[in-house]
Symmetry: C2
Subunit: 200 residues, 2 copies
């Protein structure tokens, strides 16, 4: 199974490479790195990554979309959104980290579904599409084939949750131990929710 | 101040990009990515990263060396070790993650200093240089300008510890919150030490 990691300029480095570290430990998964046009993509942290054009991705893989400052542009890029919508519709699963869920919400595929996002950018994310059932308190959310996580590090907890759902809890725990990571394993325990805001 | 991240084939992705996410939030730091010869370097997780040749790095920066399977080769690469030794001697600080400390130990610069490493590879690391004061129980170790961490995720805790030592605990805590990360902030509390082995 291909894990298709979708990158774009100004993506947040750890949003992508936290989950990559975890999903890369599933023997049957192959990690592949894409962007709309292919070529070098530069992360918010100045990292330059080589990518393959999106159109070359296997259509039945698992999609992983990080967040970051670049999503503010991405939600308005019609050609990206068109290709990304096609890809996600055919994907077995779609995982987003942080503000990646804003981009997914923009496609309409999250309408009436539960989803979450970065707690610092939550109000912006909500405004992108009010038809999503946004969860202000969730380390990560699952609705059908859609997994969405809170900010940055929450992507690792979600990736372990995804592994647990597919391969069992022991496998997820073993991966956490192998990377010496303390898994925040309760998706409903949002450690960074803004307590002052109570809608949802 | 330049943070000079030294990459090599088969480096462990999160070893590098966990600390990058944290150090990238210090306004006065510039992140730069190097390898011995420059060009594309491929991580263990199939990520292809563009790098600059090591000889172009500022000599007075902060060095960050990840670990990973590639360190098994790196400890025997004379030309790398020579350039890396020069770089670290002139560096303000040197941080290693996971088996990156084996490479640093090989240079001799860690002799009689406290250091730690990945708990699964500890016996291999120790054998690289027995003159190092290896700490089997430590989330991370500090000795002079040298910071060494346990496996993979421990690099993030160490990076936050480094930020705390330089800029104060509040700054480190604020960065942890901004990336929704639960900082394991006690460097002596090794959550993944092998309890069966008691030497150090």
């Amino acid at each position: 199974v291909d894990v298709n990691i979708i990158l774009f300029d100004d993506f947040e480095t750890l949003d992508a490479f936290g989950p990559v570290e975890i999903l890369g430990r599933i023997e049957s998964y192959t990690l592949r790195y894409f962007s709309l046009q292919g070529g070098i993509v530069k992360s918010r942290q100045g990292l330059r990554v080589e990518t393959v054009p999106l159109m070359k991705a296997a259509s039945d893989g698992i999609v992983l979309l990080p967040g970051g400052q670049g999503t503010r542009m991405l939600v308005n890029e019609v050609s990206f959104l068109s290709a990304f919508t096609d890809m996600v519709q055919n994907a077995a699963y779609c995982l987003t980290v942080c503000t990646g869920s804003a981009v997914l919400a923009k496609t309409g595929l999250l309408d009436r579904r539960k989803a979450t996002s970065n707690k610092n950018a939550f109000d912006w994310v909500k405004k992108i599409n009010e038809k999503v059932n946004w969860q202000r308190r969730a380390r990560w959310s699952v609705d059908g084939k859609y997994y969405t996580s809170s900010g940055v590090s929450a992507g690792m907890d979600m990736a372990l949750g995804f592994v647990s759902d597919r391969f069992g809890r022991e496998k997820a725990s073993a991966i956490a131990v192998s990377i010496e990571y303390v898994w925040n394993d309760d998706q409903s325990n949002d450690l960074f929710a803004k307590t002052g805001k109570s809608d949802v």
